[in-house]
Symmetry: C3
Subunit: 260 residues, 3 copies
């Protein structure tokens, strides 16, 4: 006998896995503007998920690279004038080619110029903005909550993925929580950035932005759970997450997905 | 009883291992101009192989660093004006000091300015150019084949190492195929770059350019095969490749080398 | 029955572990100016040790990032005009906020402009300078020895941590040797940089500069020993060192610490 809520969870989990399977089948190219600390792990996470990463940051080349990609990640982890110029070109190119893009406004709570730049980028219509509680507070001007996230989403016409012990994803009408993941994920640099890159990958194959975002968060979260069972600390865990992104099968993902 | 072809394979395999043993014994310094995604894995691959990597990209310093090295790798994975300036100085310094260098023209098929820069660099006489089929087509203007590779080699007086399921290496007179490797190698970023760095390392200890290139491709290919047997996905595989570069012994390399 | 020297070793080992435990408990933020090769491993080493790394190099932002940190690492592994500008701002900010900082003058023996810049930085009062024998010779103008290190320390009012098979740490009055570590540590890029970052982390929680430095060297050295027992080569070793930094307990550290 299925409890109605269980049935709903199973349906959501199956929908998430369908998107992940499509990522693996199609292998979208995801162009990543991200910091030098995160580039290697992000590229390996995308490769393990079946995608093709590209990472050039040169303002001279980023236009053609984004034009030929299927999705874009903009991570503000490094912030200098060259990177800002490259970001402007990349976002412009994404708009021209109707590519979905994800904004990861890292550390906007720590430096006001970043917050200003992030606000400008939000005005240029990312599909998704993924951020933690401190970053949300810095950008929204209010403490994070379900209501605050929905208000921010509606005001900015962007899907918000608010990271925390439980992640919240809202498109202003629906709100979904994803409770997958493991504490070791916070002990590996670039884990969040790799998650945001997977959001971009899912957007490349799924037009429902909220659904694509949920699928990516389930994917990286379940990978973290499975990896934690096989590793002896954050060093072996980082490699095990990449292994899990490569290996996770449908039954494992759908059984473990904690979506509601 | 030895089949003549087997005897030839064994001789080629032994010659390859002799070069690898010389790399380990002499520990050449290999200066690498490579992208930030690839730097860490490339450095660790070189260290595992017994070499000393150096990676500075600053135009102010790269001259002395290359002058004191035994070989140079130029990877076009990042392409900006500072990197181009550093590359010019590095290649000039290599010529002055008669150091062998390897050109890895990453993604020249994706951006015309890179292809133009790669053509200019080929005119400055790398010992080896290592590239995949798409990159070959972009530079040579024809589809890759044994004949096309030999023609390109003769026209440009450069040994060509054409990557594929089977790698081809030609100096315009001889053509050798290396069939080592594992599909997981394509799932780890910088694996190709690390292979090109090993080509540079072998050039540092072996004057026969074709022989040095074959040795490096056998080395990374066998490391990939052994690593795949010990790993559970691309994350643990990446670490296992580095372990294998450090551990592989002569009998394993010569038994597994698929050279013809 | 305790031999007096054993008792002294145990006391020193316990003092070292007390500092490590404080690092884990307080989780200081350590800002790192380091090269792109080393950033990822350094960040993961700090995270495993319970710290919060930050790595931005942008001259526009580094001031606020350092101001909010508890310690600073300056590694000269990359050397260009932007990095020099960022370093100047970072060191100035550290002085204003009375933050301890560590100088790791990588490769000053290979390029005279680096040595000149390192000398200028020593004049700006790092708490600790950590360097190997070749780097010491380049900066001090004499071969390294216990006496030379003490003389250099007194002349420059900086604690010197001289790396070698046995590390020496001196504040000009006391001199302590730390004999922990494993040869595989030299086969992983950024291992030294991660060690220097841990020195900065210990300085964040311990006012006795010599004691903090000794604690960090014991920490990374014992992690290397434990990791070597669990790994099959430098690739798996690198991950195992990170695991060990996360897992090492007091009895293991104090039993293995080789301080005298």
């Amino acid at each position: 006998m299925h409890h109605p809520q269980t049935a709903s969870r199973e349906k959501l989990a199956q929908a998430a896995f369908d998107i992940i399977a499509r990522v693996r089948g199609r292998g979208p190219r995801v162009h990543c503007i991200t910091n030098t600390v995160a580039q290697n792990f992000t590229a390996n996470g995308l490769l393990a998920a079946g995608c093709m990463p590209s990472m050039t940051l040169s303002p001279e080349e980023i236009g053609p690279f984004v034009a030929g990609a299927q999705a874009l990640l903009v991570n503000l982890g490094t912030f200098d004038s060259e990177r800002r110029a490259a970001t402007g070109i990349a976002v412009e190119t994404a708009a021209q080619h109707k590519l979905p893009w994800v904004l990861d406004p890292v550390f906007v709570d720590r430096a006001p110029p970043r917050a200003a730049f992030a606000r400008e980028l939000i005005g240029r219509r990312p599909a998704v903005i993924r951020l933690n509680h401190a970053e949300f507070s810095a950008l929204a001007g209010v403490a994070p909550s379900r209501d605050a996230a929905m208000t921010f989403t509606r005001a900015n016409r962007v899907v918000v993925a608010l990271s925390g012990e439980t992640d919240l994803v809202t498109d202003g009408e629906r709100i979904v929580s994803v409770a997958n993941g493991h504490p070791l994920m916070a002990k590996v640099t670039a884990m969040g950035c790799a998650g945001s890159a997977l959001v971009a990958a899912c957007l490349a194959v799924e037009p429902d932005i909220l659904g694509a975002t949920v699928a990516a968060l389930v994917f990286i979260g379940v990978a973290g759970e499975v990896a934690a069972e096989k590793s002896g600390g954050p060093g072996s865990f980082a490699a095990a997450v990449v292994d899990a992104l490569y290996n996770l099968d449908g039954p494992t993902i759908t059984a473990r997905a904690r979506i509601s």
